[in-house]
């Protein structure tokens, strides 16, 4: 089906959430409901996007916590003709995604030391494209789900 027939193409939908943990569920619910109403994405891809959005919002809220910011986190969904894009913008301190430590291989007993830091590897595996960009006030994470692409992260 063509994107235009779904009635979403060209639409931009924005949601601002308070930077608190209880609002991550709302953000992923809104995005997954929107993605599910987009007939270009199969259910599995909607689930992938839902998880990626949850991870991005969690990171955003943690960034706000570290920066002591009371500002809101912006979640912007843009339905294009070829993809659904979700941008999560925080006003935290920002970070360098290239400076994340590598996890030891799963067979290494030290792997159990890594209880955190799984979010960004998950995002990368789940969406077709991810971009982290510094903004004036924090970090913007852009998640792209292309229509017609096979599910990412499946083996």
């Amino acid at each position: 089906m063509l994107a235009g027939e779904a009635g979403l193409a060209g639409e931009v939908i924005e949601l601002e959430i308070p930077a608190r943990a209880e609002f991550v569920a709302l953000a992923r619910l809104v995005v997954s409901a929107l993605a599910a109403s987009d007939s270009n994405l199969i259910d599995e891809r909607v689930d992938d996007l839902k998880l990626a959005v949850s991870e991005a919002c969690t990171n955003a809220i943690e960034a706000h916590g570290k920066a002591g910011s009371d500002e809101r986190v912006l979640v912007r969904c843009k339905a294009g003709s070829e993809a659904l894009e979700v941008c999560v913008e925080d006003q935290g301190q920002g970070f360098d995604p290239t400076q994340l430590p590598d996890h030891p291989p799963v067979t290494d007993p030290d792997r159990l030391k890594f209880e955190r830091g799984l979010g960004i590897p998950l995002i990368k595996a789940l969406v077709d494209e991810v971009e982290f960009s510094p903004t004036d006030r924090g970090t913007a994470v852009r998640l792209v789900m292309r229509y017609g692409a096979n599910g990412a992260g499946t083996s």
Partner: protein
């Protein structure tokens, strides 16, 4: 958002059945419940994820932390999960190799390292 955390005893295991969504908001309660069980001397724990609708990296972190804690007491943490969308999160992060994942509580209690199914 409700997170169900029910515990029952099964053949020397504490079975913690989790229901609902595990994310950054609910994960602290899940972590506290696991820590409580360990401090009560329950060192063989089965976490049943069949009632979980959503699990993200914060939930994975709780499970990894629980496994680490239990291993330091010569215990273990086994998982019950057959839902593909939840299993996928373990597969992507390579944690299927870290956890023993079973098809049912019966299979987990029955032991075996085949990842479940054999005893079902």
């Amino acid at each position: 958002m409700d997170l169900g955390l029910d515990v029952e005893e099964r053949d020397g295991f504490a079975v913690l059945s989790v229901r609902g969504e595990v994310d950054v908001y609910t994960a602290p309660r899940f972590r506290e419940r696991l820590i409580e069980l360990v401090s009560e001397g329950k060192h063989m724990i089965i976490v049943d994820l069949e009632g979980v609708d959503f699990l993200d990296s914060t939930g994975l972190g709780v499970l990894v932390g629980g496994l680490k804690r239990l291993r330091s007491h010569d215990g273990d943490l086994l998982l019950v999960c057959t839902q593909s969308r939840i299993l996928k999160v373990f597969e992507i992060t390579g944690l299927t190799k870290v956890f023993s994942i079973h098809d049912s509580v019966d299979a987990a209690v029955g032991g075996g390292s085949d990842g479940g199914g054999a005893n079902a």
